[in-house]
Point group: C2
Chain length 751, copies 2
Amino acid sequence: MKESNRLFSRKAAKFLRMQSSSDVHPCGFAALRLCVKSFFCFCVSIFVWQIASAQTWIWYPGDYEIWLSNQMQNRRTEKSTFFPVFWKMDNHYVLMDFHKVFDLKEAEEVNIYAEGIYNVKLDGKPLEGMPPTITVPAGKHKINVKVFCQASVPSVYIKGKTIVSDGTWLTTFEDKEWIDETGKTSDISATQWLNAGYWNFNDPKQPPSAFKLPVIPIQAAGKEVNGNSILLDFGKETFGFIKLHGLKGKGKLSVYYGESKEEALSREHTETFDKLEVNNMNPSDQVMSLSKAFRYVNIIREGNAQFDEVSMLYEYADLPDKGSFTCSDTLINKIYDVAKYTLHLSTREFFVDGIKRDRWIWSGDAYQSYLMNYYLMNDNATVTRTMYALRGKDPVTSHINTIMDYTFYWFLGIYDYYLYSGDKTFIQQNYGRMKSLMDYVLGRRNKNGLLEGLPGDWIFIDWAAGLSKKGEVSFEQLLFTRSLETMAICAEIVNDAENAGQYKTMAAGLRKKLFDLYWNEQKQALVHSRVEGKQTDNVTRYANMFSIFFDYFTDAQKQAVKRSVLLNDSIQKIVTPYMRFYELEALCAMGEQGYVLKEMKDYWGGMLKLGATSFWEEYNPSKKGVEHYAMYGREFGKSLCHAWGASPIYLMGKYYLGVKPTSAGYAMYEVVPNLGGLQWMQGKVPTPGGEIDLYVSNKQIKITGAGGTGIVKFKSKSKPICKEGQVTDKRNGAYELLVEKGKSYVVNYKL
Amino acid sequence: MKESNRLFSRKAAKFLRMQSSSDVHPCGFAALRLCVKSFFCFCVSIFVWQIASAQTWIWYPGDYEIWLSNQMQNRRTEKSTFFPVFWKMDNHYVLMDFHKVFDLKEAEEVNIYAEGIYNVKLDGKPLEGMPPTITVPAGKHKINVKVFCQASVPSVYIKGKTIVSDGTWLTTFEDKEWIDETGKTSDISATQWLNAGYWNFNDPKQPPSAFKLPVIPIQAAGKEVNGNSILLDFGKETFGFIKLHGLKGKGKLSVYYGESKEEALSREHTETFDKLEVNNMNPSDQVMSLSKAFRYVNIIREGNAQFDEVSMLYEYADLPDKGSFTCSDTLINKIYDVAKYTLHLSTREFFVDGIKRDRWIWSGDAYQSYLMNYYLMNDNATVTRTMYALRGKDPVTSHINTIMDYTFYWFLGIYDYYLYSGDKTFIQQNYGRMKSLMDYVLGRRNKNGLLEGLPGDWIFIDWAAGLSKKGEVSFEQLLFTRSLETMAICAEIVNDAENAGQYKTMAAGLRKKLFDLYWNEQKQALVHSRVEGKQTDNVTRYANMFSIFFDYFTDAQKQAVKRSVLLNDSIQKIVTPYMRFYELEALCAMGEQGYVLKEMKDYWGGMLKLGATSFWEEYNPSKKGVEHYAMYGREFGKSLCHAWGASPIYLMGKYYLGVKPTSAGYAMYEVVPNLGGLQWMQGKVPTPGGEIDLYVSNKQIKITGAGGTGIVKFKSKSKPICKEGQVTDKRNGAYELLVEKGKSYVVNYKL
């Protein structure tokens, strides 16, 4: 890869010529054997724009993300009690060196801002004190800024005419520069310098530690007063700070939050509440100290506590939608809109699972948010920030979130992120952490080279009654295989050829073993697990559906598994939108968009019928009334706004509009529209180089390309007509249209 | 060892009977083959008092120590510029769980204080809010307190009638307690609970983060005014904050600090200074923000800035002397006193190297401070705090302080600490960190199984002109061997039998290799190094002198090395008190106290003659005048108060008074007085069970025992007489007196 990076333009041109439709698998993951070649040749041109930005606050990559996640995750309360995570929370390095070499045509003045105390070295020589401004002479000069900060993350903001802090600065937590007894300074290091981390803190007066999500005031939509109880309805699921206006008198106020009316009114069983002592001579406004999830708020007054009115400050991550979807089916449009709102609510400083509960970052949940994000906000920073926060720091002392599967989703998320963003810098910054996490996993294999739950491991898979976690579970081996494949690819990206080879060998071995050990010819399926060296009798959907869109099955196996598992009602049904995501993805990957559309309308439409204004953590159509709100043995334990409920965003974008990258950062992409019975659909899919704009009906396809080169693949009963480009006949009614950067095309065809 | 701990009293009695004088080597380190047996059988009774203390603030062991060291080490400035370390500074865990199970006769109210936000669980059930007081019912109950704190270390202080926070509480940074979808809480962990860390913060209103060293005001001893320069002399080397009284007017003040008068007056070359803008209408006092090392302060006024007088706030660690030494030689007494002052000045929050420079914690320097400490303040907390700070956290990314030898001194320091203190808890708390540091070292061996400098390694050994660090240096292999021996011992203490065996085997193999590869029969010495597989021609003192008091040499080798190396003037001389420490120790270990006394008077007496009020980083008698102050290519680069200059404290206590523990925590100890030509000496040596009080002349020995059982070993030309105890004749004029706990003895004899 070293060479291909250096010789980018020639190789890239060659690759474009080589690229043929048969090289890329229709599912989300390009088959591994192609990945190394097709995936990463284009990274150079695409990721460069991401680090060459305006001056901004910079830090050691991952450190601010970990710090911020500590702040966010520790805001969770349950029944007003602090409710923290039960895994290791990491911390930032307190001492950090940043440097860059500049070649100046003329001397320039440079302003330096830092979080923490700092020193500045010019060409290795310290300048006096803690200078707010330095002058760098013309010529080639190296600037080092070294910062100590304990309470928050050491970070700097540097601004001159040409000297500015950005992601091209290098940083380390151990510079190993030492002086000998004669005064000679040496750098004895094998110091690992990484590109600095940054976000969008471009104002010197707004240091990273000051960041807060924005808020906007919102009024309640309804109010019911009943004795000393005031019930407010904000019209839909929301998140923010309750504000009491004109608070006065002496007494107590209890604020009960409810995602449902029943929860807000229950008092005893409500999951979150605030209690206030009021003793105000003069009326004043009071905002609750913590933001909460709710639609309803029930305020109980005791004593003489009074207030004029109640509003809220809606707290949100300000991420505009770049993707969109509308179609001829109004229910699908409604589902898509509520999914969007669900994803936005649960996209905060990080991708969290749910906004009432757990308000934590869970790798399996976040993984789905990444994928949805690529089709809606396409915000790289929230993805990488979430992945940094999840990974934390070395040493690895447990699986991510303590869950074995969640470790693997973290690897898979990196695979996808690179594919969708082309951001090579992130891979370079993270490769060390990927390697040490994989070392941890490899160190936990049993004598068969497989993983089973050891003390401290949580085998999650899904919330499903009676699901066995015993022995060697096929689903875990499958994710493990995919993770090893990801390691092989990333090792190549960072030119670690030796390990790339080893990971590849391990991945291939494990993939073979997966089929040797779990495939049951009689059942025509992968069985759920092995216990004491023997296949169990149980077949579940998990490993089978993933093997479809991972392209691990042969075509014959796929068709067999569709019948024997996916469309087989005797196999335990999935009751979480979490695993429905993958179940429907597997069916879409096999062209069952029509069937999936119906399922979607039933399942997500079912929640809407019950009054959902955001999608739930779990939905079991067989339940009734308030039963729907219960979970974890608690009456209102269920989260009614859970990110994993928003998967229609992903499915519509990837499998109906049919857009997906086939090489890193959408340098190459594919558009395989599938109406699934809709009369028409239209939408946008964001890419690093702009939006792909698409309209599809059964007689017309209109597309405007984004930054890379796309191929529209479609079938037509008539010979397609396109004035703007060349349609290639791929035989048997299949056609392809090459979409060039930024160009618009209209294809008239007949579905 | 498990069994021996359980059956402590019987085993201990048996051991006492078995213990004979020939089992213990006269040098500080008992030979390894004896250690496991003789070292650790007594730990149980001795360390228990250390963790069963009054209620106190507790934290995760090592975390506060790391946090505090970050604060302290980042106070260093050079020429007013922030001057941080060049290695990784670690950080605390931000989220911590503490628990303990209590069995109460009656219900009790318990007050809870914390640094950070917290929750409290009683028998696994969370209590509402963040309760400052809880009531624990009678019976057996488990209390958990979980704390999040970002800026400082999560810590708690708990006080009820019987429920109090102390070192018996257990703590972890990942409790892995999770809840399933039915609401069942499980602890799936293999959680490693450690005994909580603590110090002496026994006041709930004084949380750990508020700690500051105490200060007392001190007036200057002299003043010289010369134009706008005011030179103050504080009479001796000191440390603290300069205070300007009645500061007024408008102008500038520059405060130049000098360990010598020349430094304070030099302005251009002074190592530390403060600059102030003054704009005071009304006179006010101003204390400099950072404490500094100095004897002289030169204040330069510019403009109309004025002040009435200058004093200082002397900043110190409040550690009383428990050990003492006086003798018939006034120069030795003076040397001892200045050594004491030197050690006190450089014993701050941690053992630092020097107070002007570097004000950092260096493992090799600290190692000597530990040893001196055992004979003066005997403060365990400063030792363990320093070792925690040095070790930092996993992952290990470099040698301690980046120096290979300094990694090994860290292991050796643990060996000594356990011997002198008997504190088994510290070993248990640290064993994980010991193991991972040793893993790092083992991973860096070359194909010969030896260590040589890899990129990022600093091979220090000593400040010595032209000293080669190339290839496989014998001194490093020697320290490596000793460290492996320490690992074997500590593995046994924590019942890690498998690794104990492996470390033992590795240590034995390396020790053999050391002699096979480096011993030169012709030179009668270990050579300095091997380069490209061949012995170099060079002989240095380092490996040879350590092999004496490590007892690695045969008696014949020792005698040969004394002639061929130690007393051989053609071998490069040592010019730092740092290595003179070991050189003189080696000679003392061979009974050369008379020679060493003369050397001490020459070398340390030489510094006193030059006006030293504390001992220096380096002293080369061949230099003249201000040459003495220069180092590192800077005119005043040398530190004139360096902990490693204080070794007479250790030598007088261990080799003249002759007191040392022979099993952990002074359960057994040895007293082998050696006057070395003095007419008399007297002093105290602190132990965990009180002070051993000793007077020795050439006709009388008076001793009062401490907590353990001691054996006084001495020679006499006459039959010794002791009324209080039984003197055993060991033949050839050698005698032994058994000293029981707390008892006093007078022995009349003839030297």
